[in-house]
């Protein structure tokens, strides 16, 4: 089995701060992490490799420092890492991103055919959930999103059975390799990686490809030029005209505080009192 796992380096959202005056995001000094959703996909890929044998290649598109995240993926247990980095990729939206990644996967497959591609369900920064389906479509791989578990893989028949989260239930799907899978969060406990992997990762080379190295011939499909969407404006939400009305109550008297609050709510929502009584009577 040859499995490619696409990962993205993202700022650690827990440590993002907004500038109090300019209201812009302060990215400087914010540590980066592997997009948390990608880790569930990486774990699923490693588990399949452990069971069936083969290779897990991690692939990322990003600035040169995204090599850190690839190295981290190696330390968790991935076998090879490829970084796609080029100024032509700057400003890529999801359509342009899926073009670049799909082309790189085709190039990776020219050395060793790819059976499965794993992507994160979504990223925590863009949060679009579109790159995985985009890659599947471009490669002509079967698309299996929101997967809770990969149940069985029959390498001889090249079939795969997964449980997929749908609205109102779980679909059990039988499909074929090659396929693109996105895993649901919480689908497995992500391993920590062995000491041997950590040592290997520290010494390993991350293969770095420019657009040309990856076999991208049509630069007009990359970056801003290849992105049909444009950001018209970025703005702070309108505060409501009036701020919240402060409920007057003594902070030292919880009973008074509660009574004053309930009086306020009942006055503001005339039907509430009757509805609560009706609900309580049921």
């Amino acid at each position: 089995m040859h499995i490619v796992v696409c990962i993205k380096q993202v700022p650690d959202s827990a440590q993002i701060r907004v500038h109090p005056v300019t209201n812009t995001i302060m990215r400087q000094g914010v540590p980066t992490i592997i997009n948390p959703y990608d880790l569930f996909s990486l774990e699923a890929a490693l588990a399949i490799r452990d069971e069936h044998g083969g290779t897990v290649t991690v692939l990322s598109m990003g600035p040169p420092m995204a090599a850190d995240s690839l190295r981290r993926a190696l330390s968790i247990g991935a076998d090879r890492a490829v970084l796609l980095t080029d100024r032509f990729f700057a400003g890529s939206d999801t359509l342009a991103t899926s073009y670049a990644l799909a082309t790189a996967i085709t190039k990776i497959a020219s050395d060793q055919p790819v059976d499965m591609v794993f992507c994160g369900k979504q990223t925590i920064d863009g949060d679009t959930a579109q790159v995985g389906p985009g890659i599947a479509r471009r490669l002509g791989f079967h698309q299996l999103t929101y997967v809770e578990s990969v149940e069985t893989i029959d390498r001889a028949r090249r079939t795969v059975i997964v449980r997929r989260r749908a609205e109102g239930g779980v679909q059990v799907l039988r499909s074929e390799l090659p396929c693109m899978v996105t895993m649901l969060e919480g689908s497995a406990v992500v391993r920590r990686g062995s000491m041997a992997d950590a040592l290997r990762a520290a010494r390993a080379d991350v293969t770095t490809w420019s657009a040309k190295d990856a076999g991208i011939e049509d630069i007009s499909q990359c970056g801003l030029r290849g992105s049909p969407t444009v950001v018209r404006k970025v703005f702070a939400p309108q505060p409501r005209k009036e701020k919240a009305v402060l409920i007057e109550a003594s902070a030292h008297d919880p009973v008074h505080m509660a009574e004053a609050t309930i009086d306020t709510l009942f006055a503001a929502l005339p039907g509430l009192n009757a509805e609560l009584h009706a609900a309580a009577a049921r």
């Binding site: 907004v18 890529s92 992105s227 702070a236 505080m257 709510l265 309580a280």
Partner: protein, 359 residues
Amino acid sequence: MSNEAPRSAAKKQLPEHFKAYTGVWVYIELERGQVHSVSWELLGEGRKLADQLKVPLAAVVLGPPDGSARAAVADSFCYGADRAYLMESALLADYRNEPYTRAMTDLVNTHKPEVLLLGATTLGRDLAGSVATTLKTGLTADCTELAIDAERSLAATRPTFGGSLLCTIMTLNVRPQMATIRPRVMAMPQRVDAPVGEVVEVPFDMAEDTIITKVIDFIADSSRDKVQLAYADIVVAGGLGLGNADNLRHVRELARVLGGEWGCSRPLVQKGWAPADRQIGQTGKTIRPKLYIAAGISGAIQHRVGVEGADLILAINTDKAAPILDFAHYALIADAAVALPALTTAFARRLGPAVRLAG
């Protein structure tokens, strides 16, 4: 990489072959005989966009020939559609990416809409990503606001990363302009008995043996363990201001006495204090209750977009300067761990013997 830097220089120069694209389409999510209510919400929103553009609003229904798709078409007219495109085939009985992507892209290529809206559900997101890639068009996910700009383009607004900021995204030079919107973000339109609109029936010409992926089983969620948070009339939620996991019980208690549901901000899920299906906000549930009580929640944009549809918001917070006071209607400046149990006791007393406090 991200393109979330304004490109005001970008100009609209729609290529000639896209100029024929007209009309607003809403994909009606029919699964296992039932239409997801997000589809009606989107028809309500699509109606406004279509009226502004002075074009028809169409519903797109894909489904099996068992009557359910036709029923969905009839309902679409009651929620504001002027026209419906209907594809009926046994191959469309269960949602599968391959046949649905094919059906949708064929419809778009033949009937050329300028706007295509889908619900941001597991189905809608799976389908939208494939359709947009096939059509090589722009897709904006999880929009919180839609509008038509002076040049008749769709302006799709969504929260941007990590800060209290929103961004407006346009697809200027490709059609259709696609967007997904999460359930409960848009208001449910009034259902009216409408005269029947125009039904455009389109044949679906795929053969089952060309479709590789098969649905071999469907395990329905028992409705019992499905949290009804998104549809509750009263929601009480807690944030990091609760201080510890144990204090979440005050949130649950108040919700119970009020006959409502409880929820939380994202950090509580990340800390393992609460399960993921209780999270409210951009990456959790969007709620539209009559009353929302937010205790110890600062009101970050990602939380705000999930609760703005509430009729009345009461914030309980120790900080008068917390951002939530910018959009809450009332605020109680108090320690949540004190105020919540006091409210529970006081409500229980007023509601009388029908409500008993748990021991």
